[in-house]
């Protein structure tokens, strides 16, 4: 009886793992975020799926992340390193650069629980993304877990 219960529990948890959900923060023309849930199957890599969705938003949302703009993504302990192609992020408008960063970092924190820091790199190095945003520092979960653009009312 007890062995049967243990087997059932394992099966349930196996099901939970296979039905992983990630959240992609899309942004509309009014600069409002639209967190969108995507179900990732057990065969898929959730990080790969996340970046695929970020680079191909539905047409009603802004296209913030250029296609083929990622060199590599890797995780070291609780930090995810996102190595971007520098050439794709030159001379951006601030309006686009800010939304891109918020969208990317929020999507990562909402989708990947164990990650506490996001480190952006430009061709493997620190730099200035789009001419505006310093990538020297790590973006923390505490600040970017939720959409960080606030309005006091």
């Amino acid at each position: 009886m007890r062995a049967g219960a243990v087997i059932l529990l394992l099966m349930l948890s196996g099901t939970a793992i296979s039905a992983l959900k990630i959240t992609v923060f899309y942004v509309d023309g009014n600069m409002q975020p639209h967190p969108t849930q995507v179900i990732v199957s057990a065969e898929e890599n959730p990080i790969a799926v996340l970046f695929t969705y970020l680079q191909a938003p539905p047409s009603r949302y802004l296209s913030l992340m250029p296609k083929d703009s990622v060199n590599a993504v890797y995780i070291v302990y609780d930090t995810i390193y996102v190595d971007l192609k520098k050439e794709k992020f030159k001379y951006w408008r601030f309006e686009d650069a800010r939304l891109f960063v918020h969208s990317l970092v929020c999507s990562i924190f909402q989708s990947l629980e164990g990650i506490h820091w996001v480190k952006l790199l430009l061709d493997g190095e620190d730099g200035v993304l789009g001419g505006w945003i310093e990538t020297t520092y790590k973006f923390g979960r505490e600040v970017w877990q939720y959409w960080p653009v606030e309005k006091t009312r």
Partner: protein
Amino acid sequence: MGKFGPMYFLRFKGTVVSFMEGKSMLSGPDFVRYLSGPIYARNGLLYVPVFDLFDTLQISYRWHDGKVLLITCVLKKIAVLPDGLEIVYDGEDIFDVRVVGKSVSIKLKAPCMLEKGVYVPSNVKVKMDEEISVEVPSPVKEYNVERARGLLRIHLEFKKLTYRYVVFRVDGRIAKDGKLRKMFKLYGLEPVESVVDPEQTIVVDFHTSSIKTIVYEPEPVELKGISHKNVVISKRIAALMSEKLGYTYEPLFLCSLDQSTVSLAIFAPLEDLEKIVEVMGKCVLEL
């Protein structure tokens, strides 16, 4: 006003003056004032030289652009005190007090005049019939107005300033606009071209943009808390300003922000610039 036989009487406050048609004088119980011409009647109206009459009855007036302005308030003393301002006057309370930053302004709601020989302190500007203004040495945190008969006293509580300097750049260039500089000074902030003392300087980068947002720098873990105070205050100013301006505020590691000081980047339309400077001055006083 009254009439007794051919004699007319006028009384104002404690003075009584009498006069007659065809005579060239005004008289009272203890005075006679001779006029340049006789008092006369025409179309049922009696014509009396008005300035002689006003002078005799001690009615304050001013001749301005072909009109006689009757003065209902005469300023007898204007004094700047260590904790405020005092005005002693005779007549009507016509004062509307406004205090913004270092500026104390008393709008005059009716014509008034200074009594002869009244000393006006050098830092007090009197624009007759319009305004009395004083620039006090420090921005005012709170004030209250005491009104008594013939006395207006404004009590001022000054703000102890934490931040004294501002580096304000507009699209990458130091703002040289005289009006903006004057507005900063009104709130006790001296516009400078570079950081004078990181503990007392606020750096603001204004960028012309169609979006309306204020960017503050979050605390980078790599700095191990070194910039904590600046981060907290930057965020507080950003939140206060965004509330007053109806903007958003957000964290970002902007390459233009300086972590050694309180610093902000403001992205907004150029026409909002003056309003931003005014709101910023008020928010710095609230810290």
